[in-house]
Amino acid sequence: MAKVLNIAPVSRIEGHAKIAIHLDDNGNVENTFLHIQSLRGFEKFIEGRPAEEVPRIVNRICGICPWMHHLASNKAVDSAFGATPTPTGHKLREMCQVMAHINDKILHFFFLAAPDFVLGPDADYSVRNIMGLVKAAPELAKQVVKMRQLGQMMLDKFAGKAIHPVAGVVGGFAKPMVEEERKELLQGTRTLLDFGCYALDFAINNVFAKYMDIIGDLGAIKTGFLGMIDREDGSLRLYDGQLRLMKSDGSFVDFEGDDYIDYIGEHVEPWGYSKMVYAKSWKEGFDMALTAPKGIYRVNTLARINVCEKISTPRAQAALEAFRSSFGRPAQQTLLYHYARLIELVYSCERTIELLEWEGITDPNVRAKVEPKAGRGVGVVEAPRGTLIHDYTTDENGCISGANLIVGTTHNIAPMNMSVKRAASTLIKDGVYSEGILNQVEMAVRAYDP
């Protein structure tokens, strides 16, 4: 009685995916697939568009992290046009990007992931969600909604649009910040920092402690990691820096985003529209075997926390030290993505404050002169979902003649498939499965926040 269980749609994640669990005659897991269902074709339909318009087209790749695409794209166009943003333009972009990280992490942890932990993985699906969370923990829920809204509105007010932004422009930023705005943003961010620290404590005490056994096991796999670090001191970076590709034994190479093609490749399977990125430079090929994966590395919060030497802001650094002393480096447990996410939440708040306190932030010189021309440029940022690469070629008119995009989630497609397989084959035995068990399989995906 072999059969297939179709978990569709995978819910409380950002994209369109389905999990298929193939059971054999004895009701044990034969194989699993995480099918990525959607393809829209951005790489192709930006061809011919004036490059300076592209940052406000590609943001529509994702409405949860539009700032990431917007800015990676701006960086790519800068370099294709040979423009260097002014220092203030550069910093304003970074500020918007880290602020967007703040919102994203609140959204992901509390709206999407937390219901599993607060209400329990086996709770009925009708209550295992933000609506249920409101009933179970109304004060917390109110606070969460308020904080997310605060962050979102701060960005919206300063940059005109928080979703599908337009304020980042080739050469820098569209408008300077005035003192009044700076004060207001600082005040708001300080509130967010307090909340971020509270959220981390809350999770350490109420979530991670309680679910330690699940964390160690659920969807656990062993892989390498990729993330951005500061060029000088190797500390965590989200907006600009070099990339570090680490093997599971902790050894690593560092490289500039421009050279990505020498290090990573994209593998295609016929059963999903998303490509699967892997470490080409390890020269071992691509294999998702659970026991001996080949070329597989992960990105996103846990990866960044693993590859960095340290974090440049004090509270996040303290949290990182505590994390490392518990889980080592690199930490492999999949559910630790949530832990790492909250450390990054604290970092993002602290970094925003740091940028707002920088004396040059209100300088009116926010955009450098640019001329559309032929060239090629690679723009890399760290999106909440991982390393994001936009690579454009422009013609003599400054219009896009070719584009290659590697979006955050795609690096994690192979690892997610492995985590699903691992979770399903551990949890489903001899034909015994339940809604709660299948939800735990989904939790393995949710941790990655795809």
């Binding site: 829209r40 074709g41 300076e52 969600n129 919206d156 490749g265 955009r367 809604e435």
Partner: protein
């Protein structure tokens, strides 16, 4: 009694869903008291094929209010949209992808097969890769807006739509009255100073910032069209303005038309070119005119460029 609601996303970016979450203070009462959400992939775990995935037919529960976002570009989108139509009393198309095709409908301007092939043969993709076709929904011949496929009761464009009006549409439905929505153009909601076009006879690309006094209120800034930038405010439906200023204009950036045309069947490219021409501005100075249709490529608006046939003398 709460009103049942089902949310679905088709070819979307989730921005519309985030716009819903941005409703703010009223969000919690809306999703917990006003509405009883029975299906919504981003927020809850109701499954198409039963909670244990054993079903064979895709199923969404009955609901009074249905909200769909995103364009229709593959078979699964179509199936989900049809199921939503069957199960929901009132079906709302939310966001410009759902109402006009949105950014994904830019694909309608290209040869789809060739483009997809291209996507699977980029520099970083392993050689020999083919377009996936196992267990993934096959594409439709082009990208459609929702109303090209099923009857839609209410359209609320915007990329993303304005949270204020999302709330208004939902609340008005629950209260059984017509929603109060803006009906004019973006310019009608814009406070910039208008003094006449002056000497502008060409539009420039947006490669330098517009002129304005930092920190000064928006009504002290000259209209961007009058500053010589192509601003699509005149040909775009109002609705994005928050705090009294259209979204992009408050960032000091020209409008690109994300709310679609002012009239439902309108044509932003034609209207914009006609507007420029009748103001003595050279419409040929617009680089890549086709991208003016970047939000409204469904409904047959955007089509692949035809190879030029040798022009005969007439």
């Amino acid at each position: 009694m709460a009103v049942t609601a089902a949310l679905e996303w088709l070819g979307s970016c989730s921005g519309c869903e985030i716009a819903i979450l941005n409703i703010g203070e009223d969000l919690l009462p809306l999703i917990t008291e006003t509405l009883d959400i029975v299906h919504a992939p981003l927020l809850m775990d109701h499954k198409y094929f039963g909670q244990c995935g054993e079903g064979v037919a895709l199923e969404i529960p009955d609901a009074v209010i249905g909200i769909v976002t995103g364009c229709v570009n593959n078979r699964e989108h179509l199936e989900v949209l049809q199921e939503m139509r069957t199960k929901c009393k009132v079906l709302i198309a939310l966001g410009t992808c759902a109402t006009h095709g949105g950014i994904p409908a830019l694909m309608n301007g290209q040869d789809q097969q060739e483009s997809w092939q291209g996507i699977f043969t980029t520099v970083s993709t392993d050689p020999g890769a083919e377009i996936p076709d196992v267990e993934v929904p096959p594409p439709l011949d082009r990208v459609y807006a929702c109303d090209e496929k099923v009857r839609i009761d209410m359209q609320l464009p915007g990329c993303p739509p304005n949270p204020e009006f999302i709330a208004e549409v939902i609340v008005s439905l629950v209260e059984g009255r017509d929603p109060i929505l803006p009906s004019k153009s973006v310019c009608d909601t814009c406070l910039t100073k208008r003094e006449g076009k002056g000497t502008v006879d060409k539009v420039k690309r947006f490669i330098e910032n517009v002129e304005f006094e930092p920190g000064a209120p928006i009504d002290e800034m000259r209209c961007l069209l009058e500053q010589g930038y192509m601003c699509m405010g005149p040909v775009t439906a109002a609705g994005c303005a928050k705090r009294g200023v259209p979204g992009c204009i408050s960032a000091r950036v020209p409008c690109r038309g994300c709310f679609g045309p002012v009239r439902k069947g309108g044509n932003q490219l034609l209207d914009m070119m006609n507007g420029l021409a009748s103001n003595g501005i050279d419409y040929k100075s617009v680089v890549d005119r086709r991208s003016i249709l970047r939000f409204t490529g469904a409904h047959g608006r955007l089509r692949p460029v035809k190879k030029h046939v040798a022009r005969e003398k007439s």
